[in-house]
């Protein structure tokens, strides 16, 4: 069925909460980026592209969430997998620095909350995958600098992911 019809299966409350959670995580992520910039002068992810390649930071795809090719259940699944991936990446950043730790922890908590919200909705719709996703190989940050640079790259990738998620959720909420 057309994605819009499927959107009707999603409670409006769920979509409103998701949109709010995306905005909250965006705010958390912006806070992390601002602190990395203020404290460590790491302000531009484009200065860290080369390092990013060497660190091998995976990115989450939202191909089934773009409005042209939106497949609702596939989109929810990709959203959940992406959030799950970012939980793993944030855990890999553990020990980044005492000043940043509270911000990273809060970001991790909010992402985990959002992932749980999506997973429970998939369960309610009966489309939850038989097996919960397992974490792939995570980058290894071998120095304090790499953790901070990794933080900039992860936060930047997360913002792009969230923008895609927001567009899809907004599209569904308006459906």
């Amino acid at each position: 069925t057309a994605p819009l019809a499927l959107a009707l299966d999603l409670p409006q409350n769920f979509l409103l909460k998701c949109l709010e959670q995306v905005r909250k995580i965006q705010a958390d992520s912006t806070a992390l980026q601002e602190k990395l910039c203020a404290t460590h002068r790491l302000c531009h992810p484009e200065e860290l592209v080369l390092l990013g390649h060497s660190l091998g930071i995976p990115q989450a795809r939202l191909s089934r969430c773009s409005s042209q090719t939106l497949q609702l259940m596939g989109c929810l699944d990709q959203l959940h997998r992406g959030l799950f991936l970012y939980q793993g990446l944030l855990q890999a950043l553990a020990g980044v620095s005492p000043e940043l730790a509270p911000t990273v922890d809060l970001l991790h908590l909010d992402i985990a909350d959002f992932a749980t919200n999506i997973w429970q909705q998939m369960e309610d719709l009966g489309v939850d995958p038989a097996v919960k996703p397992t974490q792939g190989t995570m980058p290894t940050f071998t120095s304090a600098f790499q953790r901070r640079a990794g933080g900039v790259l992860v936060a930047s990738n997360l913002q792009s992911f969230l923008e895609g998620a927001y567009r899809a959720l907004h599209y569904l909420a308006e459906a």
Partner: protein, 308 residues
Amino acid sequence: LEDCAHIRVSTPIVRLGDPVTASCTINQTCSSLGPESQIVWKLEAELQPGGKQQHLPNGAQESTITLPHLNHPRALLSCCLLWRGSLQILDQAELQAGYPPVVPSNLSCLMNLTTNSLFCQWEPGPDSYLSTSFTLKSFKSRENCQTPMGSIPDCMAEDRQSHCSIPRKHLQLYQYMGIWVQAKNALGTSKSSQLCLSPIDVVKLEPPTLGALYPSPRKDPPQPECLQLHWETWKPSLYMEQKCELRHQPQLGEAHWTVVSPLPSTVPGYELCGLLPSTVYILQIRCIRWPLPGYWSNWSPILKLVTG
């Protein structure tokens, strides 16, 4: 050095008005104990008749007493000996009396975005006269909070406090949790009724910052019956969709509030008209998470402005 005397109490903590039985054993080694030494009981400062005294095979003497009704929440029971005309205190025991904890009532919770914690408070009920601990218990769940899906550490209220805050790291803001209060003292345990909530749905915001907007010289002069205002969302709630309401009243004798609603949560410039010219007005604004659930913020501090 073996104790001179020792009191044993059946139950040191009883319900107010219940009986208490105690026995005091005085060892032979306790100075030159004459065969007819009389053991005397005192409760606080009052002598207590009715002690039954007996000799024990090992030469010690033991007195047993039952106080029919202990009506003091706290009382010191003393075991004394009449010795050379004076009453010698040989041992003391503290007795306590009170009631089992009453069921805590009116449990309510607010999600505080400043402290990022779920603040819950309750009515402890009448004093039980005993040291009573209050514990906020909760579990993660799905919508109806019937089936626990994950544990949450207990939140122990501080002594004599009837509130507790669950920190963000133990919360899932957008998931449901069952939550109740347990009261416990030496005489029993009681449990409040259970709430079922998701923390973010009981968020209470702080009001926006309300201010006057001073017209720029290049623009037309402000109309006498209007006020130029602006307000800005409370930053920690920027990500939330909200609605607000503004109330105003002239500072005149019998004035009443006029409420303007609904209003958005951030407005760079707002013109409030239909007012009395050359009059002092007091204004306040408050907001609430909307359309998703939440609680109204308090009213903002009063803003006092004068119309043209």
